[in-house]
């Protein structure tokens, strides 16, 4: 399954990455699974990609860790919203 990943706010800055195209393993069914997969990239990723620290949007709609993922999705991972 291929998705487009976008990063904003704290994770974008700390991981020095704004976007990437990712090929996910077959068992990555939800945003929680995606975060688990990202945490295995190393200590920086393990520190950032916890369900406490990040929020997400799937195809430009706010999601939760339980949100399902589908091939072709645009998934954004970001620190809690703080505009206005």
């Amino acid at each position: 399954m291929k998705i487009k990943l976008l990063y904003f706010g704290r994770p974008r800055e700390n991981l020095r990455l704004s976007q990437e195209n990712a090929e996910l393993p077959l068992n990555t069914a939800t945003v929680a699974d995606l975060l688990g997969w990202l945490r295995r990239r190393g200590p920086d990723w393990a520190a950032e990609m916890t369900e406490n620290r990040v929020r997400c949007a799937i195809n430009q709609e706010l999601g939760t860790p339980a949100s399902p993922l589908r091939d072709g999705d645009e998934v954004a991972i970001f620190s809690p919203i703080s505009g206005g």
Binding site: L6, G9, E13, Q60, A76, I81, S82, G83
Partner: protein, 155 residues
Amino acid sequence: MSASIQTADFDLATELASLRSGRAQVGALVSFVGLVRDFSDAEKIESIYLEHYPGMSERALEQIIDEASRRWKLLGVRVIHRVGELHPHDQIVLVATASSHRADAFAACEFIIDYLKTSAPFWKREQTAQGAKWLDTKESDLQRSARWNHQGAKK
């Protein structure tokens, strides 16, 4: 009903004039302007940096305006959110509502800014002498936003 995301500053008088223009049924104009303060948790703010999610941020503002228009009788809405680097005293955000009656204009203006704070993808990084930090969603903003879940059905 329109939303803009821009680095440029805005002029409230110009925005309100265009919101009223040609709409003689407007009896009430309510506006909220959010400004960069000079202090945060006792630390002097040097600047803030505002980031957004292009594409989703425009869409989120439009969805919030649509929802407000379903709940209240509005004749016009204008939302402007600035992005990029800003300094104390700078204007950050404008929400202006026009209606025949003030109850609708007040409720819609407050609803829009409350929802914007918790559901529109904007992020603030504060720069103080102690360094930079990304702000979290305020607990008080989450509570204010949740108040609207069972309020304000269309009259």
